[in-house]
Symmetry: C2
Subunit: 260 residues, 2 copies
Amino acid sequence: MQDGNDKKDGTEAVKGTQTLMRALDIMDEVIDGPIRAADLARKLGMSKTTAHRLVQALKSRNYLSVTRDGFALGPKLLQLGVLATEQIDYVRVARPFMELLSDRTGFCVFVGKREGDWSRHLDRVTGTQRLRVATAPGDRRPVAETGLGKALLLDEDEASWERLYGEAKDGKVTPAQIQAYVVEMRGHKARGEVLHDSELGDGVRSIAVPIRDAKGQICIAISIASAAHYLTDDLRDGLAEQVMRSAEQISAAVGYAGPR
Amino acid sequence: MQDGNDKKDGTEAVKGTQTLMRALDIMDEVIDGPIRAADLARKLGMSKTTAHRLVQALKSRNYLSVTRDGFALGPKLLQLGVLATEQIDYVRVARPFMELLSDRTGFCVFVGKREGDWSRHLDRVTGTQRLRVATAPGDRRPVAETGLGKALLLDEDEASWERLYGEAKDGKVTPAQIQAYVVEMRGHKARGEVLHDSELGDGVRSIAVPIRDAKGQICIAISIASAAHYLTDDLRDGLAEQVMRSAEQISAAVGYAGPR
DNA sequence: CGGGGCGTTCCATATAGAGGAAAGCGTATC
DNA sequence: GATACGCTTTCCTCTATATGGAACGCCCCG
């Protein structure tokens, strides 16, 4: 967080663009629902004249539309939204955050997406630790039995968890095992984070968190992984916190605006 | 087409917003895919400095993102796109165009959307003619057997046409009838317009055309309707032309950007 | 090494945009 | 029906703002 180009606070960033910035401020206000020009002027501390001029300009370009109770988001945004969806590359967006997370924690970092009943590894950043987890981009595993996969499932209902777990185990599961799995998933869901110990007996442990797109849907997931030996219980909370923060940042970067 | 707020040509509209307009021009260029700042300056006839400043400003607000080969649409647009989708009210957008169409043709104008295997009438404008078609907003009919419904089906495959037609007729159809229906629908699809004579024996005839959203999908349909007595064969082409033009305008107004 | 492309910074200038004032309009209030 | 309020819209003046030229650092290519 020591680099200076944060824009958390909001307003000052590039100088020499007052008009543009004010117009974009207007867009931000309109996000919260239709609003009248006079209210915009008040809220944003500009004259009615200015608000009016900007609003008219945005309307003329279809960024805003006029409704009975003020200005609302316009049709141009529908078009841009669809095109942006096509242009955005989740992996590329996630990359810098993965590197940051790896730098801070030292662990390997992975991202993956769901493909039907499978989880596909899309990218990884090898950490600084000697021990590396071997899973390579492109690998596919049953979605119910990896940390990344379980994070991708957090929005599913319990029936799906049961089905996918059963299928991952090829049907060789007892009702008690299924029940235990569901209980475990409930816990993950409640915390918004998955702690997973590999069932392959290789002692690999991972912490995975889902990433949400602009629609609020889980689109990919991020995880850190290492030997359980390194990823110890007392480190767990701190690390989980960091992974979740990274996930939140990536979610924001792909357009997620928080639960609404 | 005599109203003056067209913006086909492009640039001049509201004065006193050069900066904003230039920034939006940049957005329009970026729509066509990633582009570098220097190219933007050339294409839009501004100095590199200006292009740079605007692009940085847009990036700082996440309207643009940086990629290997230039600037691309940013994540903010994903968010705005989703929200705009929620805020948009197709009926309200369509209303003025419906009134215009009714004024010009004198016929009743309807819009409706698909609900599963049904077609739901959403709004209507009563024309100037004495004869009025009684279908009221809220009415629901099998999607395969109304003009509006058939327009909503133009993107479906032939298997769906067969199924829906069969279900609308409650299974009481001969293979020959089904075949005739499919052939008829093929014709409608090719022309992008549906001419429909009511099967209720009330002599009602309609011309319906689909309206597309930003994703290119058919979201609603518009139709004009009257007694076959008024909506005669020699009027048909001219009227169909007008309905299609209205549909195109509404499509554009809800974000449709043409086939891509 | 030198040339051409790009992104970025600096600065003096003109001009674009801010905001006050006031005119239309529609809707509430009495 | 008269008066008042709030919103939109237009006009106009002045200066803060955005502009573009010049110049720098960087990378790639020949």
